[in-house]
Amino acid sequence: MGNVLLVRNLNVDFMAPEGRIEAVRGVSFRVPQGKTVALVGESGSGKSVVSQSIMGILPKAGRISAGEIIFFDPDKPQSFVDVVKLKEPEIRKLRGGRISIIFQEPMTSLSPLHTIGDQISEAFLLHNTATRAEGIDATREMLNMVGFPNANQSVKTYPFELSGGLRQRAMIAMALICRPAILIADEPTTALDVTIQGQILQLMKDLQSQLQMAILLITHDLGVVANMADEIVVMYHGKVMEQGTLDHIFRQAEHPYLKALLKAVPRFGMSDDERLVPIREIKTEAGSLLKTRDPWPEGSATDAPLLSVRNLSKKFQIRKKSLFGGGDAGSVIAVDNVSFDVPLGTCVGLVGESGCGKTTTSKMIMRALMADNGEILFNNRGTAVDVLKLRGPELLNYRRRVQYIFQDPYSSLNPRMTVFDIISEPLVIHDVGDAEERMERVRELMTLVGLPVPYLRRYPHSFSGGQRQRIGIARALALQPDLLICDEPVSALDVSIQAQVLNLLKDLQQELGLTYLFISHNLAVIDYIADHIVVMCAGHVVESAPRENFFDNPVHPYTKALLSAVPDPNPDRRLDFRALREDQASNPKAWPAPYALNGSEPSHMVDLGDGHFVRAVGQNLAMEDMRA
């Protein structure tokens, strides 16, 4: 079978105020007909620039300085075109018609002001002589093909009325409506939940075999690569490091960069003492000030959990639609009767898809949100404190004990404050020490997170995402808290940086005796860092187990679905796409008995022994059956 795309010695320059930047240097690869080629690399490696060059949609500052991109249209055998040399009207015929692209962020890739029917049929009408009605018919057919539940009505919906998964399906429908010869998928599932990711990947595979098209998959997720790709091209700093078939890359990786990349990704089944090896290791050191902590009073109860959440509930009112009466438009139960413990000195992982209530729970623990019902007990040096009833100085004191690390390292640091101001602000607020002592502490914090002390006078914009996240960690540690709540601290970071930050968090826990509540949707990350795992779905805790039990013997159908949807960076353990087929994994009503929650019968946590609990409905359930 021939090639569809041949990229030869591609060079792309960007004109920046500081001069010419060579974003892509001498990249060559091919995409065979009907196959999937994965372009792998960290952010900044130039992989997206390659895709933009192929589409001819480089930003204004970008310019192809050398090389050719040759497109062999399977519909026109014996002929080819060099995309680089094509002028506007001709290249427009290729774009969207023969070469299509889907992007990472399905919400912003679609216009919010136009119906998806309008936007999808537009692509069809641009490349076919057809009437508007024919365009809408083709759109319906395409929406059916990508698995829209109600394709006929869906043409009239707006993107914001759809879930993230459906938006990405609409995007795929738009890209494929003209039956292109090659689809470029630029991080197509990075912004999606893991179960949705599985469905989208499966959809892409199905459509690929139906339409006989090639896929150029751009991603940094080696798990996705192992499940999708036939051939792999690894990029680093604008150059191709290594390329080959899937087997070759995963089994006999030669290039040190690729080997390092494979070692930096957390994966299932790592042994307890195995550490991730970041591509760039950072050196950290805990100073004396931070190591000396106020000791707990003699004889205080250290065996009681540090944090104990009981029957916590939170309901959000949907804003009233009418000013004159009309009543509530409804309410959403974000957190429903959630209970769990965080033992002292451990790391509890809170897992779930977006919208499951995990962040709401953490905000209630922080007292950033008030709970409707329930109790949060915090073990403050041996005295149990009811967090939800704290007021004034007691609340302030509690805030010293519990700190938060945010997901987005970009928006969580004030761009107008220097790093010193950012890290010392908690000390100022809580009136800790004098100026000299604060300076000393901030210096120690910087070395603790492996950042050079002279950087203190810089502003956040001069740091990379991973460095910013370390600044956020330093800020959270400034008050020497007992409990750190980490809300998806690595999900916005590149794989290589992820390993750095995860290792840092692990080391800090050891050295400073911290307790973590670690929130994540990434099960491999949770597996790496957590001792005990709590799974949430639709506001409920559905399963809670120590790490070994959780991964060896998951019981709840939702947990099983989650686990089966995680793509493993191992070609021998591909996803079972058929298991992901139905969209019902996160719908509590659709779970099989005795797990189905219909709201009328009370459910409770069934004890399976060894600290393993699972939510079920009904009494006298046979534990042995459930374990099996």
Binding site: R95, G96, S111, H114
Partner: protein, 341 residues
């Protein structure tokens, strides 16, 4: 959607009531009223009968009553000297200064004002949209820089100065008479073709003068909005679909950047009546702006009150119209979704 419209209409009623009260309070705030000023003036001229005449007028227009009573009479929910005769009955009251009913005083001027203002708005939009779009799509080009420079020049030049310069030039080049909206021969005449042409001849100066400052601001805003939108991912999607540049620009980013301008309609409507008072004074335009100024100065309370209420009504209606237009154009507002996510 229908319910939403009804609600928006109903909420206008309490809003207007509150505004009317505030307007009345503000008018009454300065000590004295038009009649007491008049009295002082007449007495200083040695008019002995003045006191009685003013007393009579005072009773005639209910100015001798308490503040609240005057207010409800003005509203038309309380019987005054002539029974129920307030705004609700369509009676705007009496202008002391002109000694005419307010409606008669304002009459023709309203229409001339509307003509001037609407032409100005259309002029502003016609000039600023193409320039704004050009500036955004050719950011940092020579064209962008020079148009921006011109725009700032327009923004920085005081309107009345520009008005004087243009009036001089119009007189020197075209022989148009200085000031006014028409040749003197058509004043107080019925509408005729000649009068119409005369108005057109005079109209362009105030339109350009009042328009330039608005144009510059609008170009800057449109350019900024459009530049933001052009960065967005859906523009890349459109290009990747194979859309031509112009069609893409018109259908997606331009449409997105329109929202602030539609929201602005609410502010435009009151400007139609009150706008550019100073320019109107300089150009001695027979519009309502200078009249409002005069009425406020001389405490001609019913005339000023009617003006201010008219402005309030237009503001409220303008807001309503822009809300309806926004809901119509933007499905996110119509269907009540939370913006960007």
């Amino acid at each position: 959607m229908f319910n939403y419209l009804v609600q928006r209409l109903l909420i206008m009623i309490p809003t207007l009531v509150v505004i009317s009260f505030l307007v009345f309070v503000i008018i009454q705030l300065p000590p004295g009223d038009f009649l007491s000023n008049q009295l002082a003036e007449l007495q200083s001229q040695g008019d002995s009968a003045a006191t009685e005449r003013i007393q009579f007028l005072r009773a005639e227009y209910g100015l001798d009553r308490s503040f609240l009573e005057q207010y409800v009479i003005w509203l038309g929910v309380w019987p005054g000297p002539d029974g129920f005769a307030g705004m609700l009955q369509g009676d705007m009251g009496h202008s002391f200064e002109f000694d005419l009913p307010v409606t008669a005083v304002v009459g023709d001027r309203i229409w001339l004002t509307v003509i001037v203002s609407f032409t100005t708005i259309i002029f502003t939009w016609l000039v600023s949209f193409p320039i704004g779009i050009y500036s955004a799509t050719h950011q940092y080009s020579w064209g962008d820089h020079s148009l921006t420079f011109l725009g700032f020049l327009g923004l920085a030049t005081p309107n009345f100065l520009l008005a004087l310069v243009l009036l001089y030039l119009a007189n020197v080049w075209f022989g148009t008479e200085i000031g006014g909206l028409m040749d003197d021969q058509y004043l107080d005449q019925g509408w005729s073709f000649g009068k119409f042409v005369s108005i057109l001849e005079h109209l362009w100066v105030p339109v350009v003068v009042i328009g330039t400052s608005g144009t510059a601001g609008m170009i800057r805003r449109l350019r900024a909005n459009l530049l933001d939108e052009l960065q967005k991912q859906y523009v890349a999607t459109g290009r990747a679909k194979g859309l031509g540049r112009f069609r893409l620009l018109m259908k997606y980013p331009l449409r997105m950047s329109l929202n602030p301008f539609i929201a602005d309609i609410g502010n435009l409507l009151p400007q139609v009546i009150s706008g550019a008072a100073i320019v109107s004074v300089v150009l001695s335009l027979p519009t309502t702006g200078p009249m409002l100024l005069q009425a406020l100065e001389s405490q001609d309370q019913f005339l000023a009150g009617s003006f201010l209420m008219g402005l309030a009504l237009l503001t409220v209606i303008g807001m309503f119209l822009s809300d309806v237009a926004l809901a119509f154009l933007d499905p996110r507002i119509r269907l009540g979704a939370s913006g960007s996510r």
